[in-house]
């Protein structure tokens, strides 16, 4: 049943239907509404049995989730931006340990300068943490993806990050159909951990692995992660059938008039809707939305893009000094094909991505390899002008560090 809901609320209600056992939470905008709602549900007994832990940091949140997950409880948390980076070490660790945690990342820019609005710098920074990354194009998908995420995570024993554009989705009210409890229960069986802390089977989890086996550990993790796309497709189909809504069937990549198009715009997340509107009015242009960004579904992307004459990758993050992050992935997926792949950096730090700008951009005859959408040229010119009149900075002798800090390893 579709209801007018805030995106965060829909996500929270869907997560609750997934029956998490432990939710460690730490507030950070724009994720906060999700965990607030879950906390209230736990308080009211609507979500039970479940422990809602108000931890002291995102690092603790992910750590507690690891502990809970490896003790046999379905664990969930949500974060954004600085919070994601603050928990980075534990994010990698969760993947290394194979803890099937599901985490919502309400995508937000990374400071400095501090900025609370949307871009995807945060999840992009952790794209190689070993997690599966799913990007929600809209709020219905944002809700649905959480069910799929838990199922996928637990099937593969790999953690899953569901990326939702901050504010744009998390704070948007729209009609959303939160999956019914019975449907979720049908799609998502009780959590059966691959390995668990158990007095009756006292294994050692988290051993130290040296050069003799570390490569193999990584190889096997990579192989396991690469099995995610077909599993995801299967689960998504099962879910769509369960909800009786074929249009809600998620795919690793969503082809919108892209196959056979001259120009295909590749994008992740909520910009999809705008893009589809734009290309509806331009002939020969399609949109490819990447829902599963990690593992990178190179085969599926290549299959769609193989006939295109031009690829434009719309990036909501910037790799300073290297431009487009997704662009690199797309280029490698198209290895051997003689097709230009152009990067458009757009929507950083919450700047709106307007349809008019996109339309103008796609119509531009000679698009450069890298374009910053709606860049304020006057500001740039003025600042570059100021820099050229400054004296060059004299080379200074590096001062020796006074005292080096202790290395990060045990006492």
């Amino acid at each position: 049943m579709r209801r007018q809901l805030e995106g965060s609320r829909a996500i929270a209600e869907t997560v609750a239907c997934c029956r998490p056992g432990v939710i460690p939470a730490y507030p950070i905008t724009p994720q906060t509404h999700i965990v607030e709602a879950l906390g209230t549900m736990v308080r009211k007994g609507q979500l039970a049995p479940c422990r809602f832990l108000t931890v002291e940091s995102e690092f603790a949140a992910m750590s507690a989730a690891i502990g809970a997950s490896l003790t046999g409880s379905r664990a969930y948390t949500a974060t954004s931006s600085q919070g994601l980076l603050y928990m980075t070490e534990a994010v990698f660790n969760a993947a290394g340990l194979g803890a099937p945690i599901v985490m919502t990342v309400a995508n937000r820019a990374i400071g400095a300068p501090i900025n609370i609005w949307n871009d995807q710098s945060d999840s992009m920074a952790l794209r190689d943490s070993g997690w599966i990354q799913l990007h929600a194009p809209d709020n219905q998908a944002a809700a649905d993806l959480h069910v799929l995420a838990f199922r996928l995570a637990e099937e593969l024993s790999v953690p899953v990050m569901v990326c939702v554009d901050g504010f744009v989705l998390t704070h948007a009210f729209e009609p959303i159909d939160v999956p019914e409890q019975e449907i979720v229960d049908a799609v998502l069986p009780p959590y059966r951990p691959r390995q668990v802390l158990d007095p009756d089977d006292p294994v050692t989890i988290g051993a130290m692995v040296g050069p003799e086996a570390f490569t193999e550990v990584r190889y096997l993790a990579d192989r396991r992660l690469r099995s995610a796309p077909p599993a995801f497709e299967r689960i998504a189909a099962e879910f769509a059938e369960a909800v009786g809504a074929p249009q809600r069937r998620a795919r690793c990549v969503q082809d919108y008039r892209a196959t056979g198009a001259d120009t295909v715009v590749v994008a992740l997340g909520s910009v999809t809707g705008t893009l589809r509107d734009v290309v509806d009015s331009i002939d020969g242009v399609g949109v490819l939305t990447i829902t599963m960004y990690r593992p990178f579904p190179a085969e599926e992307i290549r299959a769609v893009l193989v006939g295109a004459r031009r690829i434009v990758v719309l990036e909501r993050a910037l790799a300073p000094g290297a431009s487009g992050i997704v662009t690199s992935d797309v280029r490698s997926a198209l290895a051997g094909l003689d097709v230009p792949v152009q990067t458009v950096i757009a929507g950083l730090g919450g700047r709106p991505i307007g349809a008019a700008s996109l339309r103008e951009l796609l119509a531009r005859p000679g698009l450069e390899d890298v374009t910053f959408l709606d860049l304020r040229e006057d500001v740039i010119d003025r600042e570059l002008g100021r820099e050229t009149v400054r004296e060059p900075i004299a080379e200074r002798d590096g001062e020796a560090a006074v005292e080096s800090a202790g290395e990060r390893a045990g006492a």
Binding site: R194, Q195, P202, T204, I205, A207, V217, L220
Partner: protein, 538 residues
């Protein structure tokens, strides 16, 4: 569990990693010779029987005790306990009251009628023991247990020798002595009282002889005296008193001499009614041969001491005393200064001599300095004739005599079998420095109760009381088991590598060399110093 590769491991799988290869030294359990055992002239395994007594198994402890000494109740009263003097615990607080525990065990045995071991089957050998004092009884007992037929002859009417005729009853009640001697004789020893042996060459039918006639002749020293001055020998005084008589000594008694007999004589005199008993001795207290315990007891009972003094002349009721002084060698020299000392009687306690007429006719036997010479096997120069106790060069105590008897028995047994007794292997000393005394509880000694001095001089009741079962247990448990494992589990507990395993036999522990890294924590933390590190063999 479908555990992931390498990240998750099976429990305890490290046991395939043999860390013993890291080791350059390895621990070994040792049995060091504790100072009590080393000091015991009777050859008791003091630490051994204390160990058993600690567990409250008094009968077994007593059995270990009587393996060396068949007279524990006696020894618990009269031994000067060199074991306690040597005891390492003295360096921590006070020596373990070994002697009092021994007495307790001895008395328990009498009270409960514990019996001595059954002798071995008859060897057909016959041994004559001359003298039923501690040495003779000890030898007879050991020989009898070894299966030899033993005949003891003694000139006295009753067995015990000096224990019966010289030690006052307030130190050794006779029922104790009788009980322990009877128990020995009951093993099947043929005891012949009132049977002095005068000519050994006339004795036939024995395969070996052990001489233990003691030193029973009062040492003769000339003291000029008036005809009617009352002068008597200490041994006579002690013997008569022990026999139940009450010799008349007068109000003031002087005892001449500084040995244990002098102390016993002075203390006996007090009990016989002497208001004053004065020891006259030519040297100082430090140089007195008497045991310090006896001197202290005498002083407590009001006995006075006159040091650096000799008796020049004895008159009726008065002695003339000459003051002495020690020269640079510590030898007393007369000063010519005289004084008078009121004394109704003078008791001479100037030492005892051996009556060696018995061996004078025996070929090969050598007498030097008044005592019979024996070799390292306690045999005289006459094959098959052994000697021990006070009649051979020795410290002359009951304890030494018992040790002689036991040693002689071992040697006689070997001789009878045509072999030579092998000495005990040398063991390194269990010194105090090797102990980790931290672990021992703070525990001052349990002092045996004693009669107060006023009552002591009024009758012949036993001065020193006894431990009860609780206090005996406490005292036994003060033993630090120097140099020998006593099962405290420290090594087992402190090993970071779990490389010490408990085993049901032996020391109770074994080193698992597969895992022992050789850290030596077990050595440091062993309270008893019973583990050594030795270099790893190549």
């Amino acid at each position: 569990m479908d555990t992931p590769f390498a990240i998750t491991l099976g429990p305890g799988s490290s046991s395939v990693n043999r860390t013993g290869t890291w080791r350059t030294e390895r621990p070994v359990y040792v049995d060091r010779l504790p100072p009590c055992n080393q000091a015991c002239p009777a050859g008791e395994n003091v630490q051994g029987w204390l160990y058993t007594a600690e567990e409250g198994d008094y009968q077994t402890a007593w059995r270990q005790l009587v393996a060396a000494n068949p007279l524990p109740a006696v020894m618990g009263r009269v031994c000067y306990h060199p074991c306690e003097t040597a005891c390492n615990r003295a360096q921590l607080d006070h020596a373990v009251g070994i002697n009092s525990v021994e007495e307790f065990l001895g008395d328990e045995a009498i009270r409960r009628g514990w019996v001595l071991p059954t002798p071995a089957p008859d060897t057909g050998k016959r041994v004559l023991v001359v003298g039923a004092g501690p040495s003779g009884l000890s030898a007879a007992y050991q020989l009898c247990l070894l299966g030899h037929h033993v005949e003891i002859r003694d000139s006295a009417a009753r067995p015990g020798g000096m224990m019966r005729y010289a030690i006052p009853t307030f130190r050794l009640p006779r029922y104790v002595l009788d009980a322990e001697i009877d128990r020995i004789l009951a093993l099947g020893i043929d005891f012949r009282p009132n049977t002095p042996v005068e000519d050994l060459t006339a004795e036939h039918g024995f395969d070996a002889v052990f001489l233990a006639v003691g030193a029973q002749l009062a040492h003769r020293a000339y003291v000029p005296a008036a005809q009617s001055a009352r002068i008597l020998d200490a041994l006579d005084l002690l013997g008569d008193t022990a026999a139940g008589q009450r010799p008349q000594l007068g109000r003031t008694v002087a005892v001449y001499g500084g040995g244990n007999t002098a102390m016993d004589a002075a203390r006996t005199a007090r009990r016989l009614g002497a208001e004053e008993a004065i020891i006259v001795y030519r040297r100082t207290r430090e140089r007195m041969p008497a045991n310090d315990i006896e001197v202290t007891d005498a002083l407590e009972e009001g006995v006075r001491m006159k040091w650096l003094a000799t008796v020049k002349h004895a008159d009726v009721g008065v002695l003339t005393i000459e003051r002495m002084e020690l020269d640079e060698h510590g030898v007393p020299q007369p000063t010519g200064e005289l004084e008078e000392l009121q004394a109704d009687s003078l008791v001479l306690a100037l030492g005892q001599d051996v009556d060696h007429t018995l061996v004078d006719t025996l070929p090969g036997v050598r007498v030097e300095g008044g005592v019979v010479q024996v070799d390292e096997h306690m045999m005289t120069g006459h094959p098959g004739v052994f000697a021990g106790g006070d009649m051979v060069p020795s410290a002359r105590s009951v304890t030494v005599a018992i040790g002689h008897g036991a040693a002689a028995a071992r040697n006689i047994d070997a001789w009878l079998r045509g072999t030579v007794a092998t000495p005990e292997p040398e063991r390194e000393a269990a010194t105090f420095e090797r102990l980790n005394t931290w672990y021992y509880s703070d525990a001052p000694e349990t002092v045996r109760p004693r009669l107060d001095a006023a009552r002591r001089v009024s009758d012949f009741a036993e001065v020193t009381g006894k431990l009860d079962a609780d206090t005996a247990l406490y005292e036994a448990r003060r033993c630090m088991s120097c140099g020998n494992c006593f099962g405290c589990d420290n090594c087992y507990g402190v090993c970071p590598d779990n490389a010490i395993v408990k085993v049901p036999t032996g020391h109770g522990y074994a080193i698992d060399l597969d895992y022992c890294k050789g850290c030596a924590l077990c050595v440091t933390e062993c309270p008893a110093g019973a583990i050594d590190m030795i270099p790893e063999p190549d």
